[in-house]
Assembly symmetry: D2
Homo-oligomer: 338 residues x 4
C-alpha cells in the first residue's frame, strides 16, 4: 500500500498518517519527492483497505501496489532518486564514472590509478580491499591496509571511494574508510548483509547476482530500503549464460527495464560484463547509450601486472580514450558525462 499525500499536505498531516500506520502494527516509510510526499507501508501480510487512509486529511490517494517490490518501485516514487556521494550526485542528469583497479595492491599503484582516472574525468575511485575469490588459495586482498590506501588516495585526489564489503563482521571497518559500500554479485542475496546495510545511512552500490533476475535484484534492494537506507544504486554487471567466449553476458536490456521499474540509479560494469580488455570500451559505450546513470570500470596503471582481473582492466591511456567516446555519446543523448 502506498499513501500519496497532497502537494500541500502539512507535516502534521503526514505524521498523522504515519501514526495511524504504526497503530496497525505496520511500518511507514516517508518518501519525499519534489512535489509531494508519499508513504510506503511495509509489514502487512495481506492486502490493506485503502478506505482507512483516503478519508484522512492531506491524503490524495491510497494505491495498492501489485508488484512484490514496493519502496524501490517507480509506482511509489516517480522521480529519479539522486544519491549524494559526498557532494557527487549519482542518478542526476550527468553520467558518473567510477574507475580504478580490481584490487588495491600498493600505495604507488592506487595513487597512480586514482590520479590517472581523475585526470580523464572519473569522479569516484573503485578498488577492492576484501576480495571474495572462488578459490581459498587465491589473493584475498590487502584488507584494512587496502582500505587505508584508498582513504589516502581520496585525500590526495578528492575522488570518492567505492569498495566492496563482503560480510557483516568487516562492515564497520569498510564503512569507516569508504564513501560507497559495494555489494558484490555473490552477496546479492546475503540477506544478513543487506539488512546490516539497511541499518546504515550510507550509499550502497548493489551488484546484480550472477544469475539473478531483474526482479530479484529489485527485491534485494528492497531489503536495504525496507530498513530505512534509501541510498542504493543498482549495477548490471553481466549474467551467466551458455556463451563461453565472454566471461559473462552483459544484459543491456536490464538498463531500460530497470530505469522504467525503479527510481534508483542504474550503473553498468562493462569490465565484468564482458571480461575482455579489448572489448570493454564497446560495452561501456553501449551502457551509456542505453541510458545508464554511470559506469564502473576496472583501470590499472599496468594491467599486465595486476594481481587480479588484469585481463579485463584498461590501461590509463585506454581509459582516457574511452572517456572521450563516452562523452560524445552522452552529448548525443542529452546526458553529459561528468
Amino acid at each position: 500500500m502506498l499513501i500519496v499525500m497532497k502537494p500541500q499536505a502539512t507535516p502534521d498531516e503526514v505524521e498523522a498518517v504515519n501514526e495511524r500506520i504504526r497503530s496497525m502494527g505496520l511500518t511507514p516509510h516517508s518518501i519525499p519527492g519534489a512535489q509531494r510526499v508519499a508513504i510506503g507501508i511495509t509489514g502487512n501480510k495481506g492486502a490493506l483497505e485503502p478506505d482507512v487512509f483516503v478519508s484522512m486529511a492531506g491524503v490524495a490517494d491510497a494505491i495498492r501496489v501489485s508488484q512484490p517490490f514496493k519502496l524501490v518501485s517507480r509506482e511509489v516514487k516517480e522521480e529519479d532518486s539522486i544519491i549524494d556521494v559526498g557532494g557527487i550526485p549519482v542518478g542526476g542528469p550527468e553520467v558518473m564514472v567510477m574507475a580504478g583497479p580490481c584490487s588495491v595492491e600498493s600505495k604507488e599503484q592506487i595513487l597512480e590509478a586514482a590520479q590517472g582516472v581523475r585526470a580523464s574525468g572519473a569522479r569516484l575511485l573503485r578498488g577492492g580491499a576484501f576480495k571474495p575469490r572462488t578459490s581459498p588459495y587465491e589473493f584475498q586482498g590487502l584488507k584494512e591496509e587496502g582500505l587505508k590506501l584508498l582513504a589516502m588516495a581520496r585525500d590526495a585526489t578528492g575522488l570518492k571511494v567505492v569498495t566492496e564489503v563482503k560480510d557483516t563482521e568487516t562492515l564497520p571497518m569498510v564503512a569507516e574508510y569508504s564513501d560507497v559500500l559495494q555489494v558484490g554479485a555473490r552477496n546479492m542475496q546475503n540477506y544478513s548483509l543487506l539488512e546490516a546495510l539497511g541499518n546504515l545511512r550510507k550509499p550502497v552500490l548493489l551488484k546484480r547476482g550472477l544469475s539473478a533476475t531483474i526482479k530479484e535484484l529489485l527485491m534485494a534492494a528492497e531489503y536495504i530500503l525496507s530498513r530505512g537506507n534509501y541510498q542504493v544504486m543498482l549495477c548490471e554487471r553481466g549474467i551467466r549464460t551458455y556463451e563461453t567466449m565472454t566471461r559473462n553476458t552483459l544484459d543491456i536490456n536490464a538498463v531500460p527495464v530497470l530505469k522504467a521499474l525503479t527510481h534508483l540509479p542504474v550503473l553498468v560494469d562493462p569490465s565484468h560484463g564482458i571480461g575482455l580488455r579489448k572489448h570493454v570500451a564497446a560495452v561501456a559505450r553501449a551502457g551509456v547509450a542505453a541510458g545508464a546513470d554511470g559506469l564502473i570500470i576496472e583501470v590499472h596503471p599496468c594491467p599486465e601486472k595486476a594481481l587480479s582481473d588484469g585481463h579485463q582492466s584498461l590501461s590509463l591511456p585506454e581509459f582516457e580514450a574511452l572517456m572521450r567516446q563516452v562523452r560524445g555519446i552522452g552529448t548525443a543523448i542529452g546526458r553529459p558525462v561528468a
Copy 2:
C-alpha cells in the same frame, strides 16, 4: 590452411596456387583484398603442410588456421567485407538501417510502412511473407502474395527488400522477389538450407540461433561461404536466458566479439532482442554504440493492430525519433548513419 599472396603477385601465380590445391582434391577460395589476395583451402581432413605452398612463386606465407571457422575469419581476410545490396553497401563506414513490419499484411500496410521508414532514413525494407510460428494454428504469413507486395513496395520506394526464407522448397520463389535472404534464428543450423544459400550468389542475413554460441553462428556462416557465397551478414537478435522480463537477452557483447573474429558485417535486431516496444530504442542505441554495422527494426504503421509482434513494433513517429538518436550516436563514434 590459408595462402597469403604477395601484394605484387600476378593473376597467373594466383591461378597456379589454385591449380595445385585442386590437384590435391581440395577446394581453393580466392579472397580478394585491397592490398593482396589470400586463398583459403577447404576440404582437407587433417592438417596440411605449408612447405608445399611457400616455395611457389608469388606466395608470401602459408598459415595454419587454428579455429574451426576459416573463410569467415579475420585471420583469413583482415579487411571488413562490404556486402553490396543492389548498390547499398552494408559493412562499410555507414551504419545501415533496415526497417518494416514483422509480417506483410496488406498493400496499404506495407506501402505506408515502406514510405514511412524511408522518410526517416531506412535504406532497406524488412517484412515477412513466410512466418515460422511456434504454433501450427497461428498466422503463417501471406506467402507469395506477401512477396509480391514487398516487390511492389520496393518499386514504389527504392528500398531494397529483406525477407525470411524458411525452407529450400520456397527458396527460389523468395530469391526471385527479394534482395536479401534472411535466415531466421530457428533455421540457423538448418544445414540443407544453408547449403542451398551457399549455392546462390545473393546476400544472406543470418540470424543467430536462440541459444547458439558465437562460434556456432560463425560455423553456420562458414557453411554458406564454403559453397562460394561470400555475401553474408550476421545478426545478433537476443539469446535465451533465465530472465523472463524480456523476450530474449540481447547479447551486446557479441557485437565487438564478432567484429574482432570475422570480416563479415554484424547487425543488431533490437526488436527481438528485448521484445518490448518501449525499450527497443534504448537497445538500438546500444547496438550502434557497440559498433554494429546496421540495425534491423520492426516498424508498423499501427502496432496495436499488427497480426504478429505488435508488442515489439515501433510506430512510425517512434522510429523517426529513434533515427535521430541513432544518428547522434553514430556521429559521436565516427560511424555516420545512412
Copy 3:
C-alpha cells in the same frame, strides 16, 4: 475445443460431429480411446462456443482447451498412446531400448553393433546416415549407402531401424529404408520438415531442441499431429545450460512433466544428455527411474575408433552391463524392460 463423445456414441453420431466441424471451415481430429472417442478441433482463430456441439446426439461434453497445444495434450486423450513400430509397442507397459552407433560407418560395424545390442535386449537399432554437423568440414554420414546398411542390419537381426531425417528433400529416401524417422534437436523447429512428417503415416521420434522449452517441444509435436500423423515419440536429450563439464544438461524433470501433460511416449537419450561415456549408464538408470518409456543409447563395437561421438558411445560389454541395471530398476518400479 475438444468434443468428448459418450462411450455408447455410434459411428454415425461421430461422423455428424465431424461434418458439423467441417461445415465451419475447421478440421476435426478423431482421437480413438479405449472407452470413448474424442474429437479435437483445429483451425479456429478464436474461441468456439461449446453450445453448438453439446446438444448434438452422442456428445458427452465440449471442453475449451486452454493450453496452446491440443492434440498432444492429455486433456484431449487421457490414455497413453502406444506407437506401433512394426509390431514393437513404444509407450506401453514395457520400457523399450533403442541402441546403435552414432553414424553408420561400414557393413561390419553396423552388423556387429546390431547383433550386439540385440543380444543385450535392444529392440530397435539406431544409426545415422545423414549427419547434421556444426562444421561443414566434418564427416556428414554415408547417406543412402548408410540407409542400405541399416536395412541390411534390420534384415539380419529383426531390429527395427531408427534414423535421422535432416530435410524434406531426403525424407522420401529415409522413409523408405527406416521404421522410425528421427528429428534431431537442431530441426525441432524446422516447420517445413515437421509438416512433411505430419503428412506421412510413419512413426516419428522428435528430439527436444537444444534450448527448447517443454512447451515448445509439445508445440513441435502438435505440428505433426495437426497434419494427421499421430505416431510421435518425444525424446529428452539434454538442454543447453551454463555448465561446461558435461555436453548438455539432461533435464530429468522433463520426464514426469511431459508424462503428465501429454499422452505421447517419452524417451531419454543419456548419450547426448551427458556426453561422457563413463557416466551414460548413471543417466540411463535415472531416466528409467523417472518414468521414461524408453531409452536411445549410442553403442559402438569400438568407441575409440568411431567417426563421430566416440567419447559418448558405450562398448557392447558396457551396454550389456547397463541393460542388467536398467532391468532391475524397471522391475522395482513396475515397468519391465523389454
Copy 4:
C-alpha cells in the same frame, strides 16, 4: 601437491613430512585412508618440486594436483568419505534419507512430521528455523524457537537434525541445536560463512548455488576443508535454466560427475530440484538410480497449510509411498536404503 605415504609408513615418518611442509611456510592436511595416509599441501602460490618429498622415508609418491580443488578431490583421497552424523553414516553403502518440513512452524507440526518421516525410514530430520527469503516481507522462520523445537523433535524421535545456517552471527546458536549445518544455495559463495564453518568440527551440508558450476561447488567445499573441517556433504538441488515449467532444473548429470571427482558424499534434493509436489517422487527415484548417497526431501503433515514451500512438500502418505519405490531402486543397484 599431494604426498602419498606408503601403506607401512610410520606415524613418525608422516609427522616428518608434515614438519617439512610447515618449514616451507605451507600447511599439511593429513587425509587418513583405509590403506594409507595421504598429505595434501595448501598455501603454495606456484608449483612445488616433488623431489623434496619423494626421497623422504615412508613416502610412496608426490603428485602434482592439476585441478584447482585439492582436498575435495578423489585424486587426493580415493575412497569415499563417510560422514558420521551422531552415529549415522552418510556416504557409506546405505542411501540415507533426510526429510521434514521447509520451515518449523509449531511443536505439533514438527513432532508429527518427525514421527511420520521416521516411521517411513528417514534417519535425519530437516526443518528451517532461519529462512532466507527473496522478499523482506515474507515469513523468515521461528529462529531460536524453531531450533528448540527441532532439538525437542530429535529427543522425541532419535532423528538427527539438519537445519540451515544463514550467517556467521547466528552460527554458534544454530550449531548448538543441530547435527548438520546446511548452507543454502544463496550462500554457497558466502566465503565468510564457509570459513567459519571450516573452523568448526561439525558436519556441513553444502547446497549447490542456483547457477554454480560443478567446479564452483567443489571450490566452495574446498574453502571448508582447507580450514580443517572435512565433514562436508554436497547437495544437488537444481540449477537455473530458461525452462519455466519447473522451479529449477535438477542437474542429474551432476551426481555421477561429482561422485567421480570427489570423495565427499553427494545428496539430491528433489523438492527444490523440480518444485512440483506431484513430480518430486520421480526425481527422487532418479537421484537414487543415478548414484546419490542420500536424499533430502520436504515433507509436511499438511502441505496445503504450510507457511512456505507447500507446493513442493509431500504429505506423509506420499513420502511413505516414495520410500517404498526408492527402496526397490536401491536394492536393484546394490545400494540399500536405510
